[in-house]
């Protein structure tokens, strides 16, 4: 591309002053710290004694460390439950809202509320809702004749945390899908209905193929969020010792770095998380080239 103003004389200085904060951010915030984390992962360092060379040891230990394997598996499980739920539910909501329905504004506002408000504040209420003896969810179950459930006990905590995370995310997904749906020309539906296609056939033959770019985007964003999920997990599953009943990869990184000051282990785990994101994105972009329809 060859557009743009040429800076004259002293304006060159201005130009680099305007770029300076961003350059500092690249050096200290993102690119530089990626390299620094890579380097740190090759050492053992508690921030008190001088760093000890460890080579690949921290990475090898990741595969032997039971706690970390549990955390990593939890992250995968969490994502496998969370991502499809968010994508399917927010697409369903968007399709329903797109039916020229009365009160679209109301529904949009209500579904969007959890996206705006802090996970900490809403998790405080969810903690009350999930209460075993005192929570309203069990009250509801009991009045329908079911046995009460210990929602935040180890066996169910994963599911309960996924529910809250999905609850907090469908509003944003719905908006993304609505934007995609309104971009589909109305004539397509008119043509389909002239050909005798009913609403379900229209959904599968017209809507779904044309909304694949939004599905792609929403899957990508949801997965990246899932790999990094932390706030609700911290708030709902944290135990007295500072550990969690559903430890995920990010939880493990923070615990290792800022509770135990094992900077090398934490860095190796952070690099593995970054690799997970990178591999997933690679798969997604391959999938995009094959299946996503752009007009």
């Amino acid at each position: 591309m060859d557009y743009g103003l040429k800076p004259l004389g002293r304006e060159k200085l201005w130009l680099w002053l305007m770029l300076a904060p961003t350059l500092i951010g690249l050096i200290f915030g993102t690119v530089g710290s990626l390299l620094a984390t890579l380097a740190l992962s090759l050492f053992n360092w508690d921030l008190i004694n001088s760093p000890q060379w460890a080579g690949a040891e921290n990475y090898i230990q990741l595969f032997q460390n039971k706690d970390y394997i549990e955390a990593f598996v939890n992250t995968l499980k969490f994502s496998a439950l969370y991502v499809p739920s968010v994508v399917v539910i927010s697409l369903l909501l968007a399709v329903l809202l797109n039916r020229k329905i009365y009160g679209v504004g109301f529904f949009r506002t209500v579904y969007f509320l959890p996206t705006v408000t802090s996970a900490v504040a809403t998790a405080l209420v969810w903690n009350m809702i999930y209460g075993k003896e005192t929570g309203i969810l069990n009250f509801l179950l009991e009045s329908l004749g079911f046995a009460p459930v210990c929602w935040l006990c180890t066996d169910n905590a994963m599911l309960s945390v996924v529910i809250v995370n999905v609850w907090g995310a469908v509003g944003e997904g719905m908006i993304i899908f609505l934007a995609g749906l309104t971009a589909i020309p109305r004539d397509y539906y008119e043509a389909a209905s002239l050909d005798g296609a009913n609403e379900f056939q229209q959904f599968f033959k017209v809507t779904l193929p044309l909304v694949t770019p939004s599905i792609f985007f929403q899957t990508l964003i949801s997965a990246i969020n899932a790999f990094q999920a932390y706030d609700y997990i911290y708030m709902l599953t944290r135990r007295g010792q500072g550990d969690s009943s559903v430890p995920v990869a990010v939880y493990s990184i923070y615990r290792n770095a800022f509770h135990f000051f094992r900077m090398g282990d934490a860095s190796a785990q952070a690099i593995q998380l970054a690799l997970l994101v990178a591999v997933f994105m690679g798969i997604m972009f391959w999938w995009e080239r094959r299946y996503v329809v752009y007009e």
Partner: protein
């Protein structure tokens, strides 16, 4: 079945699903508000209408937490969120202007690099940043939360650059003929013309800073006067596990989301369009 009856049935089904969903979304908020107006003896009551109704929890929030902690927490949250908005808008706008309008060597490479950093999980930067801040003696101060807000960001720069590119180029050429400098063009033409994009970015940055749990947890002291509302509420909850008034906790939770609710209802359009934009433009 006639076509119109079929359509009505589907409409009814759609409403049923949407209303059920809306209720699920609303109940936690209604419950939060309801509990915050109850007397402590009624805190686990299944009745959503507080009986008796009391405002006492809101007074307790300011009086019971030692040393007016709730007031400090609120002030800290506002201070850090506003500084984050100023830092991000200013530094992202400057970079976005350079990338969108100015011609210089390495521009496209630098911009591609910046956008690529969107893929780096923030957890990766946290460890080296913590170490740098520790050596600077900043741990336990608010500087690790303020300074990074002033070093730009890929999301904000990308958002503003996209907007800057839609502003007609003729304006720049005309201003240049009149002898305007680069900085004049940025400050007097581009920033004032980009109010919608700046508003959208400000809202996002404010929301993220206000709701942030991790960074204050890592960097700020565990002192109820020095940390932010989110962390303060999390600590408060931990203390309550040993028995205490959830009514006061819910009052705190409700007050903590109130500023964002107000902003959301005022600027709903920017909020929702901002999300839609990030999805469509990619």
């Amino acid at each position: 079945m006639s076509k119109s009856l079929y359509k009505t049935l589907l409409d009814v089904l759609a409403y049923a699903v949407l209303l059920f969903g809306a209720l699920t979304m609303l109940v936690p908020f209604l419950w939060m508000i309801s509990v915050s107006f109850r007397v402590p003896a009624e805190q686990f009551s299944r009745n959503i209408i507080p009986n008796p109704f009391t405002l006492q929890n809101y007074f307790d929030l300011f009086e019971d937490l030692p040393n007016q902690a709730f007031l400090y927490l609120t002030v800290n949250s506002f201070k850090l969120s506003i500084l984050a908005v100023i830092g991000q808008v200013l530094t992202c706008a400057m970079a976005a202007f350079a990338f969108a309008i100015v011609k210089f060597k390495g521009r496209d490479f630098l911009f591609a690099l910046l956008v690529a950093t969107l893929m780096i999980p923030p957890q990766v930067s946290l460890i080296p940043n913590f170490i740098i801040f520790k050596y600077l003696g900043w741990i336990g101060t608010q500087l690790p939360l303020i300074v990074p807000a002033f070093w730009g960001g890929a999301f904000g720069t990308f958002l503003l650059r996209q907007y800057f590119l839609t502003i007609p180029r003729d304006l720049v050429d005309a201003a240049r003929m009149d002898g305007a400098s680069l900085f004049d063009i940025f400050w007097r033409i581009y920033l004032p013309l980009s109010k919608p994009a700046v508003a959208a970015l400000s809202i996002f940055v404010f929301k993220d800073a206000w709701n942030d749990l991790l960074h204050p947890l890592v960097y700020l002291p565990t002192d109820m006067q020095k940390t932010t509302l989110t962390v303060g509420l999390a600590f408060f909850q931990q203390q309550l596990q040993m028995g205490g008034k959830f009514t006061v906790l819910m009052a705190g939770a409700f007050l903590s989301i109130l500023p964002l609710l107000v902003i959301f209802f005022i600027a709903q359009k920017q909020f929702i369009e901002g999300v839609a934009l990030s999805g469509v433009k990619r």
